[in-house]
């Protein structure tokens, strides 16, 4: 082989190990799952022994009211937590973007919930929500109010609150970073131009933070669709199906109902939803890049 040819091949040679790992660790399981989703597959069988059923799993799920219910729960959960987290996270960032004494300590405290293991978060909240022993009902009773059956009557609301507690810091950190990288002089110019605090936020800060906020929002959405541990610990999907999000339903279908094929098909539905979100995110990034390039070209022409 000539040297020139070797040189051309060298990038691929260097990439080969990473590619191999990706095939083994990512593509193989993914392919396995997709393959399995077309079969009537029981955990006691090897995949090869199972029977091919075509799109039957997908079809059954499409018409399964329980699965539909879990899709609705997942959507309700993901959309409400992300919306509320965005408002609180961005709001906090706007409030705390200043140099006060002890601010760095405060910021560190704010991001603590995010660092706690999800199972622990679930346990903590489960105890806090406990109808007789929990701190919430203790407080309500102390204030002379009726205790609330948090995890039975308001299960979805309860897990939404817990998730907000855990994941608002994520948005807070990113929003704060975005805020602090804004051009200072543009904000000063806005002050000179007569913008009040609110007007600065609405006309200058938020529009300039928007690219970061959109990516943050999509990341959080993708994450919220897959949430499992906290809810598993707190309600295990109950009461009834009120908090059975898709990840939980998948896990139960595979372990309790012993229908691996159906679980795989369910995973694929989830995967498709997430893919759609990811594609949206990438398209958005591309669009931003395209606009930046266009702006640069125009600036060069203007010279």
């Amino acid at each position: 082989m000539s040297t020139a040819k070797l040189n051309r091949l060298s990038p691929y040679l260097f990439l080969a190990p990473a590619f191999l790992v990706m095939v083994l660790a990512l593509l193989y399981p993914l392919g396995y799952m997709i393959y399995g989703s077309f079969r009537d597959w029981n955990p006691s069988q090897a995949l090869g022994e199972s029977t091919f059923v075509g799109l039957k799993n997908y079809y059954t799920l499409w018409h399964d009211p329980n699965f539909r219910e879990s899709v609705v729960v997942t959507l309700k959960f993901a959309i409400s937590v992300v919306t509320i987290e965005m408002f609180i996270g961005v709001g906090l960032a706007l409030l705390l973007d200043r140099n006060l004494r002890g601010m760095s300590l405060l910021r560190t405290l704010f991001i603590l919930p995010m660092m706690i293991a999800p199972v622990v978060v679930g346990l903590i909240w489960k105890y806090m929500y406990h109808p007789t022993l929990g701190v919430f009902n203790d407080t309500l009773r102390a204030l002379g109010m009726e205790p609330v059956e948090w995890l039975s009557q308001h299960a979805l609301l309860s897990i939404i609150i817990a998730d907000i507690w855990q994941w608002t810091p994520f948005i807070f950190i990113l929003a704060l970073a975005a805020l602090q990288s804004l051009p200072r002089s543009a904000l000063e110019a806005a002050r000179i131009d007569g913008a009040t605090g609110w007007q600065q936020i609405i006309h200058i800060k938020l529009p300039l933070m928007m690219p970061v906020l959109i990516v943050t929002c999509l990341l959080r959405l993708i994450d919220a669709f897959k949430v499992l541990e906290v809810i598993l610990v707190m309600t295990a999907g109950g009461p009834g199906l009120t908090t059975e999000i898709m990840a939980l339903r998948i896990s139960r279908t595979a372990t309790e109902f012993r229908e691996l094929g159906v679980a795989a098909a369910m995973s694929n539905y989830l995967l498709m939803m997430l893919l759609l979100l990811t594609v949206l995110m990438l398209t958005y990034n591309r669009w931003i890049e395209y606009r930046a390039n266009k702006a640069q070209r125009a600036a060069e022409e203007a010279l």
């Binding site: 002089s185 000179i192 131009d193």
Partner: protein, 363 residues
């Protein structure tokens, strides 16, 4: 159009005081330039006038009204920033009309105003572009336009030309000078470039180390610098400083330094006798040294040519006078060679004398 007055203005960051009692009065419709080296406090002073920095001590009066506790928008001023500070997400028209839109002025009026200013600044074709789609000079113009669309009584400029390349800077400087003639408003302009200061200012305020060194018209400052700093800061190439002792023979005072001996004129003699000094610092501007081979030695200085910087019609010689660097400005067609010893005559009228103990001018 207001009168702006700074009274004993001080600024500290923590325990470090960076501005030490600035007193300054700016007349109605005056173009004031604050000039000085980096870190002299000129930008801080401007930002305090703008309301972007808090005032530690002292007061700012606009038309007799104390404003140091007011928000920037209550001070009725417009500002042009060094990095332009345009709003990246708004197009040129939106950038220029932001203040007017916040004031909820009628759409028609806003449009007319933007159009008017865009015509003056040659931005009409770019009104729909975003700042990122403009060249440096155009961005600079938008920044000016944003200040002009508002009918503020005072304009503040914070080194507005320093991000431009040399050629564009000269051009924008001329445009600013022209705009200055049309717009009769208070302008306060901060720069570290003494040429900008000299060409634009009605009044120059030279600052150094958080203190005003001297203020006055460009001509006053150039001809009668109060101290060594001002003398050395204004003028290119900068003034030459040579140490000399004062000697007397036959009732006549001489300044004797390394490699030169100058006869004092009557005015200088009177001053020096009054001050009773033994040593002085002699300041001579490079343009005041005149190539004259046959000049008498008591009104001339001999210089060995080390480097000749050809600029065009003029050249700047960097010479050596008994171990001291001396710069001379002369016509490029003067026949000289490197290494040659040349004689330059000095008109004593043009000599500046400074007290070596406190750097103040002797006059």
């Amino acid at each position: 159009m207001p009168e702006i007055k700074l009274e004993n203005l001080c600024k500290s960051y923590g325990n470090i005081e960076v501005l030490h009692g600035i007193d300054l009065e700016m007349q109605d419709a005056e173009f004031t330039v604050l000039v000085g080296p980096s870190g002299c406090g000129k930008s801080t002073t401007l930002r305090m006038i703008a309301g972007l920095e808090t005032v530690t001590k002292g007061e700012i009066f606009i038309d007799g009204r104390p404003v140091s506790k007011l928000e920037p928008k209550e001070r009725d001023l417009a500002m042009v920033f060094q990095d332009y500070a345009l709003y990246p997400h708004m197009n040129v028209a939106k950038n220029m009309s932001f203040a007017l839109r916040l004031e909820k002025r009628p759409k028609k009026e806003i449009q007319r105003k933007v159009q008017e200013v865009a015509d003056i600044l040659g931005l009409t074709d770019f009104l729909h572009r975003k700042p990122a789609e403009l060249s440096g000079g155009q961005r600079q113009r938008v920044a000016m336009g944003r200040a002009l669309t508002r009918d503020s009584s005072t304009f503040l400029f914070d080194e507005p030309l320093s991000n431009l390349d040399a050629k564009l800077r000269t051009q924008m400087r001329a445009e600013l000078a022209m705009m200055r003639q049309r717009v009769h408003k208070n302008m306060i302009y901060v720069t570290h470039d003494q040429i900008e200061a000299m060409t634009l200012a009605d009044r120059i305020v030279v600052m150094h180390g958080g203190v005003i060194q001297q203020q006055g018209t460009p001509e006053e400052l150039f001809k009668f610098p109060k101290n060594k700093f001002v003398a050395g800061f204004l003028g290119t190439p900068p003034m030459n400083f040579l140490e000399a002792t004062i000697e007397e023979s036959n009732q006549q005072l001489y300044l004797k330094g390394q490699g030169f001996m100058l006869r004092c004129d009557e005015r200088a003699t009177a001053c020096l006798r009054r001050e009773e000094l033994l040593k002085v610092l002699v300041g001579i501007r490079p343009c005041d040294l005149i190539y004259q081979p046959d000049a008498p030695s008591d009104s001339a200085i001999d210089i060995d040519v080390v480097v000749s910087e050809y600029i065009g019609a003029q050249s700047v010689l960097i010479g050596d006078c008994a171990g001291q660097d001396v710069m001379v400005e002369l016509k490029s067609d003067t026949p000289i060679a490197l290494g040659e010893r040349l004689r330059f005559s000095i008109d004593f009228q043009a000599v500046h004398l400074f007290n070596m103990s406190n750097d103040l001018a002797i006059a």
